[in-house]
């Protein structure tokens, strides 16, 4: 596939012949194999594929959690493949937000403290932290539950908290790895509606890994399908979920 964006506009991220290989015992695994494509700012890209297709590995590479074995990942002026671990940490802290299938909230912290964590890492002043946490929780309609712990919330509420945590540092790109995987269909839809709302309001780029094609088709602006580590197809939704 050529690195040609489906939409037009400034590039949010560009992958150029990216591979991620690793060995498991004596077996060499090509989790991502020579993938090239570009994402324009403001897109909602759904990475689809069966289990083991390499979509989560690709997401981790784009989110700066992992490094490619070869190839280049350009985010703005940076090539993530060449960044030091400290620069990658800064990229994760300031440029991207992440939402996981299993929420990954810290169980002993309250909602407020969980959402505040990225701001602490970014060394934001205490006063501003309080304001931004309140804003983020209000955006996901959990501003009345700030003192609760994750265990006191439903799955949907936990995922909304995770979204608030991902948004609080005002990232340019939101990565979501199976955000509806642990939720019932109604709650899953409400979470995706929330993501759409955020994308519209904040002009954010969203890259979501999912295996639920019907949700991807309904909410994403673009579908990229992976199989065996390769990008099998990539294209805008026929009707467009603009």
């Amino acid at each position: 596939m050529t690195p040609t964006p489906v939409a037009t506009g400034p590039l949010a991220i560009q992958l150029d012949h990216v591979s991620r290989h690793y060995t498991l015992g004596a077996t060499a695994i090509r989790a991502v194999d020579d993938v090239s494509f570009s994402i324009v700012g403001g897109e909602f890209v759904a990475l689809l594929g069966s289990s083991g297709s390499g979509k989560s590995t690709l997401l981790n590479l784009m989110a700066g959690l992992d490094r490619p074995t070869s190839g280049a990942i350009h985010a703005g002026s940076r090539n993530l493949a060449e960044l030091s671990s400290l620069e990658l940490a800064r990229y994760r802290r300031n440029t991207v937000g992440m939402v996981f299938q299993s929420f990954n909230l810290l169980p002993r912290m309250t909602l407020q403290e969980n959402v505040e964590l990225p701001l602490r890492l970014a060394e934001v002043d205490r006063d501003e932290r309080a304001t931004r946490v309140a804003e983020a929780l209000q955006r996901v309609k959990l501003d009345k539950r700030t003192a609760h712990r994750p265990s006191e919330l439903s799955g949907g509420e936990q995922q909304r908290t995770a979204i608030a945590r991902a948004l609080v540092n005002r990232p340019k790109i939101l990565f979501a790895d199976e955000p509806t995987g642990n939720l019932d269909s109604a709650t899953g839809e409400s979470i995706l509606n929330l993501l759409i709302e955020i994308k519209e309001t904040l002009g954010m780029t969203i890259i979501m890994v999912t295996h639920e094609r019907h949700l991807a088709e309904r909410f994403a602006t673009r579908l990229a399908i992976m199989g065996d580590g390769k990008l099998l197809s990539d294209g805008a939704m026929p009707r467009g979920n603009q």
Binding site: A89, L121, R165
Partner: protein, 436 residues
Amino acid sequence: MKLRDMTELAVRNLRESILRNSLTTLGVAVGVASLVAMLSLGVGLQQLASSRLTKSGLFDSVFVTPKLNMRGGPPSMASQQGETRLLDEDARQEISKLPNVIEVFPQVRFFSEVRFNDKPFATMVAGMPQSAKASGAFDGMQGNFFSGESADEAILQIDFAKELSTDTASLVGKTLSIRYAERHQLEDGSGGFSIVPKEKELHIIGVVETEPAAGFGGYGNGRLLIPLGAALSLRATQVNDLRDAVRGGPAKPTFASLTVRAKSPSNVDAIEVAVKKMGFGAFSLLDASKSLRIFFSVFDLLLGIFGSLALAVATLGIVNTLVMAILERRREIGVLKALGAADSDVKRLFFIEAGVMGLMGGFGGVLFGWLIGRTLTLATNIYLKRQQLPSVEISSVPWWLVLGAISFAVLVSLIAGLYPASRAAKLNPVEALRYE
């Protein structure tokens, strides 16, 4: 992440596994307590020995004799050659003007026959300056110290007192007489003198274990102590009188030796040098004091090493606790990294957790160690009281030990945290997030 936020997070993490972390901290506290208790004993015993020796007057004194010592004396004096100066009142005044000199007093010792209950007892009489009261030798004495510099009073050394009476306490308040040889200068200018037997009555006012700085100068222990002023006024014949007679001429009386008391043992060396430059023989026990300090330094070092063993074991507890914490918090570390925590942030977080355990353990350990020292002192004093001996302080926890022990505990804990912190920092975030 800012240090304050990091510390808050670390303390929160420690509170979450409070039992395990408390036990680890207790381990550090026990290690520090062992170290502090050992060193407090070393310091306490050193202070006890130093104060006893300082009070004894041996280590803050310089003993001055004429340069050519007919009697022999210590080798350091016997070998000294050069111009001979008289050790008389002028010399005493001159020496007393040297810097850091508190007082200069002559050693007055003479043979005497004591009469008590009409029985004769031959013994050595020694003059004691009033400053000798500060000597530890008079602590816990029966009766009192001299009321004045020239009082007609006597303090008996206990062995001598036992010769006079089996009930030594009953001697206090009684009277004895001493017979001695008084020196009468001949008026023919020859420098010769005649010896006249004299007798003087003295009130027994106390009984003491031993004479302070006894035997220094080789005149033998004084078994009957009288005020120095009174001893000088007796003009009793002493060993050096023979030398004065041989020297001839209308000389002033000289002293067999002088004792120079310095403000502190650190001044002794300079005074000794100055006195030697003035043309006298001088000798001090400073070298012995240095040896004592070396001995206690080695003693403290050994105690410190033994005390540190427990702390070394405690550090293994910290390593274990933190490694366990990494396993339990693997996913949390992954989340922190996904949210933008750098490897150094994760490392610092575990370092601070180790440091906080070390700090808390250090504080607790100092308190435990101090309590152990107090308990040992209390037990020792109960034993000493039963033996009718004065109480002592055998342990001491000075500020340097408090601060040193806490700092050492934190340092050791940080070293213990090195491996776990480094291991946590190196965790791959993708693998950590996958961890269940």
